[in-house]
């Protein structure tokens, strides 16, 4: 065996390969279909470009100019991408770092989605008068999702905090892969039968946590969509993240942007209800107190009129009985205030949870029309060409509206 000449360290070899690749290709255009798209919390986009013969790992780093164009980066879309071929040294993988992405045409997956959406819409399956209201005080919530996914964990943790006075019936199903649509349909049928035969289910949540477009594809199944539309129990859909729309979302009685949000929509808030109860107790105590005081005063003057000719001692006894009645009433009030003080201990939690900056840290954002202080809630509040200000967890954005989609 011949002795080796120059021995590279792994890092050296990766670096040399990177320099070689970068020098050999420079900046190039490449055409391919986007798959396996992941939006990292950092804002970077990771995806694969593929054609019939191969695949290429690609990344689009977050930058100010990237934000607008990102809308074009959807799975299944065939794009022209400009960038550099390089090696990601820590993993020794070569990848394409793009700076510009231009869509050429929507991919097959996207086309099928649009066609099905149009078909079901024409049949009237998305019609607002088909939508059942979600019950305000459910006793049992059915959840159709994977037993090991993030969705059930998120739902349980929201309900534990917000409204534990409810039972969850989990109907496990796989939520991705070829068998998922049929399994989801079977779980839905099981839930409906359970509700009829065993214990009534007030609200159903159907969904899963975030994933790539391929991962979420089961929720674009036509038969599943029809089963959801026909379901006699009010259904909340909760598929993926805020930005993901599925066919299930359109046929459900209400779309929730995430599984956690579905749990929030499915139950009242414990804190709101406690505030309502305290308000009612205070009103009752006030109203009753006013009545008691007025009557006591009237009685006392009556007792003291000579008309009744009651001995003074008897008057005192009666007066004392009145006092006892009133103080019993007051004790009742005090007991309520005691409970209320205990509720105040939760106030700190409430404050913490209602801090408007907290959702921003999780990736939600607040958008205002420039100069306005009222957050935007609906697309129809803005016009094309208007300047918007967006508050993110860190920093702000200023942008111009290109298109208003009122849907």
């Amino acid at each position: 065996m011949s002795s080796p000449g120059h021995v590279f360290t792994v890092s050296e070899l990766n670096r040399a390969a990177r320099e070689l690749l970068e020098a050999a290709f420079g900046e190039v255009w490449v055409q391919g279909e986007i798959t396996d798209l992941t939006r990292a919390p950092s804002g970077h986009l990771y995806f694969t470009l593929k054609d019939g013969g191969g695949e290429l790992d690609a990344v689009r780093f977050r930058s100010r100019s990237a934000l607008l164009a990102d809308a074009a980066v959807a799975p299944g879309t065939v794009v022209l991408a400009l960038g550099k071929l390089t090696v990601y040294e820590p993993r020794g993988r070569y990848q394409f770092v793009t700076t510009l992405i231009q869509p050429i045409r929507a991919g097959a997956l996207r086309l099928a989605f649009e066609q099905l959406k149009q078909k079901l819409e024409q049949e009237g399956l998305f019609s607002p008068d088909r939508k059942a209201p979600i019950p305000a005080f459910p006793e049992r919530i059915g959840v159709i999702t994977s037993r090991s996914g993030a969705a059930i964990r998120d739902i349980v943790s929201v309900l534990e905090r917000r409204w534990p006075a409810v039972a969850i019936a989990l109907f496990p199903s796989s939520v991705q892969g070829e068998t998922a649509p049929a399994e989801l349909r079977a779980a839905l049928e099981r839930a409906i039968r359970f509700s009829r035969e065993v214990a009534p289910i007030d609200t159903l949540i159907v969904g899963r946590g975030g994933g790539s477009a391929e991962d979420l594809a089961a929720f674009n199944d036509e038969a599943l969509a029809r089963a959801i539309a026909a379901c006699p129990i009010p259904i909340l859909s909760a598929v993926g993240h805020e930005i993901d729309f599925s066919i299930a979302d359109f046929v459900a009685d209400r779309r929730a942007p995430t599984p956690s949000a579905a749990a929030e929509l499915a139950v009242p808030s414990r804190e709101d209800l406690v505030a309502r109860l305290d308000g009612a107790a205070a009103r009752i105590a006030r109203a009753a107190g006013a009545t008691f005081r007025a009557r006591r005063q009237a009685l006392r003057s009556l007792l003291r009129t000579s008309l009744f000719r009651i001995p003074e001692r008897r008057v005192e006894t009666l007066d004392q009985q009145l006092d006892q009645l009133v103080s019993a009433a007051v004790r009742g009030v005090v007991a309520v205030w005691e409970k209320r003080r205990r509720a105040a201990r939760h106030a700190e939690d409430v404050l913490r949870l209602s801090n408007p900056a907290l959702p921003l840290e999780r990736g939600y954002s607040l958008t205002f029309v420039s100069g306005s202080r009222r957050p935007l809630r609906a697309a129809e509040e803005v016009r094309e060409g208007e300047i918007l200000e967006t508050r993110l967890g860190r920093g702000r954005l200023r942008s111009r509206v290109e298109e208003v989609n009122r849907e």
Binding site: A165, A169, F194, A288, F292
Partner: protein, 73 residues
């Protein structure tokens, strides 16, 4: 729907109590009914513990209901 019914009842009690010229015995009865009702709903909420079960189906089509442990999955 127990909590919902209690809330409706409370609302009714409150508006009746706030009527002027309410007879004393009626005011007392409403007061004695209303405050414990408000307190009992709160206690029920404080005591409430989320119940989770998973519903499976056997090959015979019967239901199999098991407690679901989030941390075991």
């Amino acid at each position: 729907m127990k909590i919902e019914a209690s809330l409706k009842k409370l609302e009714e009690i409150t508006s009746r109590l706030e009527k002027p010229d309410l007879p004393l015995d009626e005011a007392l009865a409403l007061f004695e009914e209303g405050l414990p009702l408000a307190a009992s709903v709160k206690e029920e909420l404080d005591r409430a513990k989320l119940r989770i079960e998973q519903v499976l189906e056997t090959s015979k089509g019967t239901f199999e209901i098991e407690p679901f442990d989030l941390h075991a999955n």
